[in-house]
Symmetry: C2
Subunit: 217 residues, 2 copies
């Protein structure tokens, strides 16, 4: 919020119960949340949920997340919050990771909606199918169209980053967290990043941010 004290971290109160993150170690969407919480030095507890066997999703996430997906978060007061990018906004707004300018804030949201509509459903989903589902052959006929759309998304991001250090404004923001998550492991889905010079340089800049943690931390 515009009126909040703006700092790199929120004050951690060690006596309050931690937030609870329903998590998957391999999910890029979950990694986004772990990365920002690490950079904000916010403590949390994790419950790992399978992204392959989804049979217990209603039991575990029913009542917490209408989409029954991870990440799902339960705040320290018991209230649930879902959708990775909404969680990034909740924790990031009021810190250095969300800009104050009205237009830049909208651009952060623009890139996060782009990520969920045009990027993640292609790049992260192909990675999941091929590297983590255990049954890549089941998805073989759907892979070419998704890869084509994934490369179109990478083209758009590379073009945008060709003249910029970060996605929005002059600095690292939750928009970068959001798009970094599945871009930096896109090779696991067979995406070839060699030709994307601007993306590769940006991946290095993001990984060099203070408090950065890798996906397998």
């Amino acid at each position: 919020m515009g009126t909040s004290a703006r700092s790199g971290t929120r004050a951690a109160n060690s006596t309050s119960p931690a937030v609870l993150l329903y998590n998957s170690a391999v999910s890029g969407n979950c990694y986004k949340v772990r990365l920002l919480l690490a950079q904000l030095e916010l403590e949390y507890e994790k419950v790992d949920v399978s992204v392959v066997d989804r049979s217990n999703r209603e039991e575990v996430l029913g009542g917490l997340n209408p989409a029954l997906r991870v990440p799902t978060l339960v705040l320290d007061d018991g209230r649930p919050l879902a959708e990775s990018n909404a969680i990034l906004w909740y924790f990031g707004d009021g810190t250095r990771y969300v800009p104050e300018d009205l237009y830049e804030r909208a651009q952060v949201l623009q890139w996060m909606f782009f990520e969920q509509y045009s990027h993640e459903p292609h790049i992260a989903v192909v990675r999941f199918w091929l590297a983590y589902s255990g049954t890549p052959e089941r998805f073989a006929d759907q892979v070419p169209a998704r890869m084509k759309a994934g490369y179109a998304a990478l083209d758009a991001v590379d073009k945008h980053l060709a003249t910029r250090e970060f996605l929005v404004g002059g600095g690292y923001s939750i928009a970068d967290v959001s798009l970094y998550a599945c871009t930096h492991v896109a090779h696991e889905g067979g995406f070839e990043l060699e030709a994307y010079r601007a993306i590769r340089a940006w991946l290095e800049r993001v990984a060099a941010q203070p408090g950065h943690v890798p996906i397998d931390a």
Copy 2:
């Protein structure tokens, strides 16, 4: 922003150039923007872009929207903004259509990300394929999976609305604008809403909001 004067409309300055909306009359995503701008009594100009023949997208939207989709907006100072829900936030924040409470703001975003990931790609896309593409037969093999996912999204929304008047907090917000857009025309994609009593009552409440305009206004 939390510090802004909160009112139903922003002051319209009749001497400034209007914002320019790259628009499609049939697109639910474009309708969201038209609906909120009408409720805010903000004037704008429209340029209609075909959602069937996409051959001129790079020419028309290149440099304005990395996803080359509509809606794309050009603000009165010439700066572009894309992604329907980011546009809703840009114009809605600071008005009665975006709550002030930090958690409710995140919930608004949660529902808008749900809409773009779990709802629109199924419900709006099937509607487009069957009713507007001109070549429904091309998509026939993809329709059943999309309809199943679309009904799962409707199930989730109906369950949530069973105990609530609107999606977030006590009042109508841009989350309702976002989900109303393609839900109220879902029948054009063959979705049967009879069984969704909570959704049907909510559609009526949304349509009764001050300043509401229909999709074909």
